[in-house]
Every structure is written in C-alpha cells, then in structure tokens.
Symmetry: C2
Subunit: 121 residues, 2 copies
DNA sequence: CGCCTTGTCAACCATCTGGTTGAACAAAGC
DNA sequence: GCTTTGTTCAACCAGATGGTTGACAAGGCG
C-alpha cells in the first residue's frame, strides 16, 4: 500500500480515526486531549495519529512538551476527486443504458443480454 | 470494522480494488474478465470481489455459469457525505480563525496560543 | 455422457493492524 | 537536579488481510 490515496482510504477505514478527524475539524488538539473519549491506551491513540500523519491527513508540530495535532483538509480533495470521477462516469453509463433499453423496446427483445453486450470491452 | 462506511473505505484502500471499481463504471464484467489485467490468481480476484460486495459497492447476479459483477454507485454517496461534511466544517473553521487572527492584531499579541483556546470541548 | 469453462470454497502462509504493557525521552516546573 | 507532564518507542500478541494451491460445484457443449 504505497500510494497516498490508498493510505488515506485505509486511514479513514477505522471509526476511531474518523472520529478523531471529525473532532479535529473544530480545531487543533493535543494527543492527550484527543485520547480522552476513547477507552484505549494513549499509545494506541499515538499509533492512530501516526497512521493519519502518514496519510497526510494531519500534521504535528511542537509546542512546549505538547504535540498539537492539526488537520490538513486538502487531502480530502484527493479522495473527492477519485470518487467524483468514477461516480460521474457510472452515472453517465446509466443514462446511456437507459437510452439503449428504450431503443430496444422497438427492437428484437431477445438481445436483452446486457452482459458483454455494448461498450465493446 | 462493523459499519458500512468503514467497509467502504477499507475496500477502496486497495489499488487493485479501486481499479476494478474504475473498470466497472464502463459496464458489468465477469470475474474472468475483471481478473485478466492483474497478475494474481482468479481466486485472489474472487476474494477482492467479496470485499467489494460486503462493502455494498458491487452486486453479483447469476447468468448461466457466469456471475456478472455490477457496480452500485449509490454507496459513493455515503463517503461523499462524510467527507463533505467535515471538509466544510474544517473550511468554516479556517475562515473563523482568519477572523480571530485579524482581530488579534489590534489586541494583545501574547494570546496567540491557538491551542486549547476557544471551542471549550 | 463426459468434458471444459467459470467461479467459489478450504486450508495454509506471510505480513499488516490494532491493541497491550513497560521503558524511555523531552520540556517545564519546583 | 529531580519530578511531573506529555508523548513516543519497543516488544509482544491476536486477529484480519492478501496471496497461494488444490478440490469441486454448476452450467454449456462436442
């Protein structure tokens, strides 16, 4: 899993990490702060943050002994782009398919196989 | 990882599975058909499809011995909703923060802590 | 009928993941 | 300088994941 997009998706596949991201939208938090609501060790939370950081979703700076965690919302665009691209493509296909099916009603109904039919792989 | 959103994110965290989804936007495919471009066994592809199916991203029907795989694009909305919600929230915060920082220039500069400041968890 | 095609199931294996505990480190505070 | 606070590192463990091979079920076809 080397590419960033994979890391971002993987990072958000965990409910705890999604919740952390959600809470970080209201502002930066320290690790302790972030860990509070969850019933796991501080170390576990630290690991989650490493995953989020490796995905580029958060950055950590240093402020005295504290390590404020900051959300990098731009990475969301990476996902949105991917999702929107294929969603749009899928929707376009449905529209095309509807047209094909409409045409077929005037045609021979035995050609309703749909699989391996149009699109010419 | 019980909830669907987690399963969807996890499913798309794999490049091979993302590629399958991408190719399915152009139309349904058989398992063999889907497996062709990848240098893995058919069984491995079958497993990937199970992951996608469990996430609700694809459905498989039966057509003779073939099992056409069909993309269910609606699930994308689940992700988009989640992403957009928090992206918007994060952007709003940035706007608010800009305002705060602007106000602070007329104020005492020593209150620039930002961490643990407002929001009052 | 017997066989080939298509795909899944089962068992196995290496690696990753998310959790644990205990120790260590870094920066303030006393 | 020692302690307290905040966080990470290291070792370990159970379970999930992604791959393999081998067997086999289900449906056309010669």
């Amino acid at each position: 899993m080397t590419d960033q997009l994979s890391r971002v998706f993987a990072a958000l596949a965990d409910p705890t990490r999604r919740d952390m991201v959600a809470r970080l939208t209201e502002g930066d938090h320290t690790v302790n702060d972030l860990a509070a609501p969850y019933d796991v060790s501080l170390q576990a939370v630290s690991k989650h943050l490493k995953v989020l950081e490796d995905a580029g979703l958060v950055t950590r700076t240093r402020e005295a002994q504290r390590r404020p965690v900051h959300l990098e919302a731009e990475v969301f665009d990476l996902m949105t782009k991917w999702i929107e691209r294929y969603r749009r493509q899928a929707e376009e296909r449905f529209t095309r398919l509807d047209a094909v099916l409409a045409r077929m009603q005037d045609d021979d109904p035995s050609t309703t196989s749909t699989l391996t039919e149009g699109t010419a792989s």
